[in-house]
């Protein structure tokens, strides 16, 4: 075991796949010689050279179009969209072209590509560099969506995403880049569509992902001290969605709380809550409660951003109140 940061895990995860498969290429803005604006891709340019690690102009449509055209002709590109908010300038390629073309062509084409992007808030970057957009990607038929929360999962889910024959949107929580975690030696390969249970409790279940995972775990510790013992599920993969783990763990405790960084309306937890309402209603001892960012653009000031994103304190208070009402 070695301790790696989340940002170091990104370069290691990409390198792991580029070493084993020459069809894996990597492109994006400032990803090569500069090592990425978040320093998440340091060393790749030096190891794999300018042909496989390519710097691009500020042209998000060209970046993702290039990835799509390369994927449909047999390569496995990884494309970086620097900030997930920038998906808005290339969403046609994502939502209309990459996502739909396999179905429209009756399966004539495959798109084995990964779009990785720095997602979410916590860095005081303001509304256009901070939104958590996992729900944008989740609601498009034809896209797979993963959100790793730990360095180990960054590597394992990156491998799963690269080796998958479908397009995967790989969202990295920017605020997690400096966080550390234990990572085993050797190759790490996960499966898409698998949630992990990080903490087992008996009173309530929390489903969460990305930046909200460490907050949910911290909240669970505080709640346990107050007598509420929580299960914490790291959902990890929104499409495919491991509903069986969520349903099983919800039925076991009788309560479900989602902790989501995306803005409230049609956040991923709305779909989870709806599934639980339809399929585990009679196992519930109380309403499903969603803890989310409010339905607002994210403010820049640290005090305001901290109020907007679900905090450990808000998770504790909300769950405590719900469990005692």
């Amino acid at each position: 075991m070695a301790e790696l940061t989340y940002r170091e895990a990104i370069a290691r995860g990409i390198a792991q796949e580029m070493r084993r498969d020459e069809s894996v290429l990597f492109l994006g803005e400032d990803v090569g010689a500069a090592g990425g604006v978040f320093k998440g891709t340091v060393g790749l340019f030096e190891e794999f050279g300018p042909v496989r690690v390519r710097d691009t102009p500020i042209s998000e449509q060209a970046i993702l179009g290039a990835a799509m055209g390369a994927a449909m002709t047999g390569l496995r590109p990884i494309a970086e969209i620097m900030f997930a908010d920038f998906f808005a300038v290339c969403w046609d390629i994502v939502a209309n072209e990459i996502a739909k073309s396999r179905y429209m062509t009756n399966g004539q084409m495959s798109f084995p590509l990964v779009i990785r992007s720095g997602n979410g808030g916590g860095l005081r970057f303001g509304a256009q560099h901070s939104q958590s957009v996992e729900n944008w990607a989740m609601m498009i038929p034809g896209l797979k969506v993963v959100v790793p929360s730990s360095p180990r999962d960054v590597i394992g889910l990156m491998a799963a995403a690269v080796r998958d024959d479908d397009p995967v949107v790989f969202l990295e929580s920017k605020a997690l880049y400096p966080t550390k975690g234990e990572v085993p030696e050797g190759e790490i390969v996960d499966a898409l569509g698998t949630a992990t249970v990080l903490r087992q409790g008996s009173d309530a279940t929390i489903a969460t992902l990305g930046l909200m995972v460490p907050r949910a775990l911290a909240a669970a510790e505080e709640l346990a001290a107050g007598g509420i013992d929580c299960t914490v599920i790291d959902v990890r993969s929104l499409i495919p969605l491991d509903t069986q783990t969520i349903l099983r763990e919800t039925s076991a405790t009788g309560r479900l709380f989602t902790v989501e960084e995306n803005p409230r309306v049609l956040g991923w937890g709305a779909e989870v809550a709806s599934i639980v309402a339809e399929e585990a209603f009679f196992d519930l001892d109380g309403p499903v409660v969603r803890i989310t960012t409010p339905h607002i653009p994210l403010p820049a000031a640290d005090t305001l951003e901290d109020m907007a994103l679900p905090s450990v304190e808000r998770i504790v208070t909300t769950i405590h109140k719900a469990m005692n009402s």
Binding site: A62, G65, M68, Q108
Partner: protein
């Protein structure tokens, strides 16, 4: 651009094939229009009547493993690569024997086995995608070329500019072909475009030569395409070609095209401008017997008739197709 002595464009048999191809595109599209009126074709459709010389001339210059990226006005470009008429008619009719079993429709014709890598219905989107295919050919050293067709309206959308710059800086083997039919949908392009030549006048911005060609002359189109494709194959980078042409009909099924002056439409439909009539006259001038041309036309008509009937006889797509092929495993499951 000059015609070199070595060019097959001087060969009469080659010209007869180019004529056959243009006649086939014309007759296919004419039948497709009739099938709309008879309600066999639902939804919308965008015909290439009047623009056949470009699809035919460029396809003749392509290698079988080169790639075509077409637009929603893509019947002609698809057929010109050798895709049979029956599955294309059937796709327009939404039948299970369609090119994509009815799942794509008129605007998304695709036949990977013929190098037709999709028809794209969002303006400009396929230019960067063609760059990606070209990048793939460059990386794998296959010397394949990506050819991407688009209309004059496309030069005013961002993806056009991103793709041109991208292709130029990476020296990608891609040939951009602007079919300038003078109208972007219902508006005259010159009224909404800052330069007179929508594509050619933009070439310099990407370090490319401005290339203009008479898009209603299949021989001229062929020669320009051949040069550009050879250049791309040789690793010399992209080309941007503007081919001036005219669509005889409206933008789509819903559009009678009344915003165009009658005399303008008549001029472009005249024997002097219409690509099929012009090419026929050229062949006669070269001494080809009229009977040989009549025979080609009759053969094409028979092919169109047979394909129409074969397409009509196809079943409606079954429910088994609905939840198929969202994912590479053939299914549509998004949860366990």
């Amino acid at each position: 651009m000059t015609t070199t002595e070595a060019s097959p464009v001087h060969d009469v048999d080659f010209k007869l094939e180019l004529y056959r191809s243009q006649v086939a595109l014309r007759r296919f599209e004419t039948r497709a229009y009739d099938l709309f009126l008879e309600n066999y074709v639902k939804g919308t459709s965008h015909l290439s009547i009047g623009q056949e010389a470009i699809a035919a001339g460029v396809a003749a210059a392509m290698r079988p493993d080169d790639w075509t990226f077409a637009t929603y006005r893509g019947h002609a470009h698809t057929l010109a690569r050798g895709v049979a008429m029956t599955p294309v008619f059937a796709e327009l009719m939404g039948r299970a024997n369609g090119l994509m079993a009815g799942k794509g429709g008129s605007m998304h014709l695709t036949s990977v086995e013929h190098g037709v890598m999709g028809s794209y219905a969002i303006i400009g989107a396929h230019l960067p995608i063609a760059c990606g295919a070209a990048w793939s050919a460059q990386y794998r050293g296959t010397d394949q070329v990506a050819v991407v067709f688009f209309g004059d309206g496309t030069v005013n959308i961002g993806a056009f500019h991103e793709a041109l710059n991208f292709a130029a800086i990476w020296k990608l083997p891609v040939v951009f072909i602007c079919e300038n039919n003078l109208y972007m949908e219902y508006t005259r392009t010159s009224e909404v475009t800052a330069v007179a030549r929508p594509a050619a006048d933009r070439a310099a911005a990407y370090g490319l030569e401005p290339i203009l060609v008479d898009g209603n002359d299949a021989d001229a189109v062929y020669e320009v395409a051949r040069t550009a494709i050879e250049r791309a194959r040789a690793g010399e980078g992209p080309s941007l070609i503007e081919a001036e042409t005219y669509r005889h009909g409206g933008h789509s099924r819903a559009d009678p095209g009344k915003y165009r002056p009658d005399e303008e439409v008549a001029l472009w439909k005249s024997a002097e401008r219409d690509p099929v009539s012009r090419y026929r006259a050229r062949l006669l001038e070269l001494g080809v017997e009229e009977a040989a041309l009549d025979r080609i036309e009759a053969e094409v008509d028979a092919e169109v008739d047979a394909a129409t009937e074969a397409a009509k006889s196809g079943a409606a797509p079954g429910e088994d197709l609905l939840m198929k092929d969202v994912w590479a495993n053939g299914g549509a499951e998004w949860r366990n």
